[in-house]
Symmetry: C2
Subunit: 405 residues, 2 copies
């Protein structure tokens, strides 16, 4: 009997997670010896639990090809964490029933830290419940916070988008600052790890260029130091561009975004970080301030994807299948940097126990001593990840994002 | 003696205002008969008032060329409105002194409605203060709200950026909605005119595609109807993408955003619509909601400029000089649509009195009867404006935005 496989997408999606799906599909078609079927779980592990599977072999090749340039998770994703085998045995039995029914021998889970944990748990079914499965985790997260791997697929494209956006908004602000707005704040994703905020520093190609201040969740936010620094930058440069991670905290451990803004009716408003900072700047420094919040735009901006990111997303998918067919279980293909100039990298394999639930934050030696910018070492790390443009095809002035599965 | 000219940029900048500058420069170099000098006023009319001029002929051609792909206003812009001749005669005498000193015969002002008014006032110096000057207004505004012209340079590129962003964020939301976020809101610019919000509808390439709701400043905002519509969309589609103009108002005439942030002077600041709407959705409908605010990112996104927009921005600059040298005064080159398919247009000339201080809003017959989306007629109008990609050159993974004047 043929041994089949399931691929599923999990957690917050990226602009290149579908490229990993394509890597899995192509590797499966090229490498699997017994002509088994590759299924996709609809909406991540939920599609597996509910036996809601898509037979990928039934999708025409010209549709499959579109995975390469379509952002979001075309098979659907989910935020759902399996508990451990002991407390949720029924859930695992449900899984095994579906695996049995479709004779699934391989499970490829495409996600971040939480999904690595889910994948690890599925891999344990082999030993603990005596169902033979190879579970492989395909890394993906815009947060760039997975351990072991040099960087995470999805991140390079966000970095390219954020750095480009800061260059553009910085030039806009520079044009206007003589009589109008003096401060611009961009809020970016990153609740615990500040990699995305750090990547804005790539926009710094000339002296006095934006961003002038970068606020990382790795550093305590001090409003007085922040405002002083803004005044200093305005005195020197005439305007100030700030990039803030959504996850910055005060010294008491409270998220800045949890601060309360009271509206005209006296109701407490949920402020985003950018709102809070903008209000600080306008009330305390009396400066005109604009702010933007990138939110989903940053992680879905396939129109500005990095070629390096696209290639790496493909390779981790491809190698995931390769490792599984070689008999590996509970591992993750990861990106190993060989050199900076020229940028060289390769795919290697790591045990999931070294990745699941762990988190790689921006290290101290990448952060400026005043804690409001990053160091050159961080830039050297970031630079290769945004290299190359990989534009989607355009039809009538818009990207061809017509893939719906 | 040579007759010289001044070009200046005014008001909020765009991703292609520098392309109009290039059109002015090239036309001046090609068409002006007496080899006069073209100056740029630094920071708009302020540079003229303060005799802070840049001699454009001194800038090397390989630097000038970069105007074509650099967003923001490279000569600096300003928000400064001249009062009329009677109340501010001294200011005008200051202007004339600078004109005299540099023997300026032509003034090219690149801006929106307010700048058209400033340009009109400068043009009146000829008659009222007996200084011979030809003042030409070069249109530019992302708001697309100038009268007479079919569309405004700067707008097409914003429209392309917003429609692309909504496609991308829409696919992201679609992936996540089974277990996580159900509503996504994007706040866009547009205080009085909803053209930018309307342009998001271009993302609607397939049934049930985002955006599902568009809130225009032309229509009264009713929170109950809004929430009902969201529920309806969620029931049908599973998720809901909303695009909201910053300038939407309640039936009592108050800006929706005014309930959020009050600045140091006690002035309400626009830019909080998304927060208010997101809070409505999460508290009244108990749905997980994400929101983004594009702010300066939308109007400076040169990396995703429309080719049509770039070409039109160039032409209005070029024709501005042509009209001036033909002896015209107090006019504006504008874009006249000849046909939709194929899209054809030409440049014509209109008297500034028909443009200054006036505003073109989205007309009723472009708006859906439920006032929460636009009609096909509006799409037909918008479609040609985003055609073609005009990518800037990239260096090391980022656009070459190294122009500093």
């Amino acid at each position: 009997m043929k041994t089949n496989a399931i691929y599923a997408q999990s957690g917050g999606v990226t602009s290149v997670i579908n490229v990993s799906a394509l890597g899995v599909i192509n590797a499966w078609n090229e490498l699997n010896p017994n002509n088994g079927t590759l299924y996709a779980g609809r909406n991540g592990i939920l599609g597996v639990l509910n036996d809601d599977l898509i037979d990928i072999s039934q999708i025409p090749p010209h549709i499959i090809k579109k995975l390469r340039h379509t952002p979001g998770g075309s098979f659907g994703s989910c935020r759902y964490k399996l508990k451990d085998l002991k407390t949720q045995r029924l859930e695992y039995e449900k899984l095994i029933n579906v695996f049995h029914k479709h004779n699934i021998g391989y499970f490829f889970y495409n996600g971040g830290n939480d999904s690595a944990d889910t994948c690890l748990k599925v891999s344990q079914i082999s030993q603990e419940l005596n169902y033979p499965i190879k579970a492989i985790h395909i890394p993906k997260t815009i947060d760039n916070d997975l351990m072991v791997t040099d960087n995470c697929p999805g991140f390079g494209s966000v970095a390219k988008y954020i750095a480009t956006s800061i260059m553009e908004a910085g030039l806009d602000l520079r044009s206007m600052c003589s009589t109008s707005t003096k401060v611009f704040i961009l809020e970016v994703m990153g609740r615990n790890a500040g990699w995305i905020a750090a990547s804005a520093a790539l926009a710094n190609t000339m002296d006095n260029d934006a961003p002038h201040i970068i606020l990382l969740p790795e550093c305590t936010f001090d409003s007085e130091l922040f405002l002083n620094r803004i005044e200093e930058v305005i005195n020197n440069v005439g305007h100030c561009v700030v990039v803030a991670s959504e996850g910055i905290k005060y010294s008491n451990g409270k998220f800045v975004s949890e601060s309360v803004v009271v509206d005209a009716f006296g109701h407490a408003q949920l402020g985003g970080v950018a709102n809070i900072l903008a209000q600080l700047v306008s009330t305390k420094l009396n400066l005109k301030c604009h702010f933007a919040i990138s939110d989903y735009l940053q992680r879905s901006a396939r129109h500005l994807a990095s070629s390096v990111d696209v290639e790496q997303a493909y390779k981790v998918g491809y190698y995931g299948v390769k490792y599984a067919l070689e008999g590996k279980n509970a591992v993750m293909p990861y990106i190993k940097r060989i050199s900076n100039t020229p940028y060289q990298w390769e795919i290697d394999c790591v045990d999931l126990t070294q990745v699941a639930n762990l988190e790689k934050r921006v290290p101290d030696d990448f952060i400026d001593k005043e804690k409001m910018h990053i160091r050159k070492s961080c830039l050297e790390y970031l630079r290769p990840l945004i290299l190359g443009e990989d534009y989607p095809p355009f039809i009538d002035g818009l990207p061809d994002y017509t893939l719906r599965l």
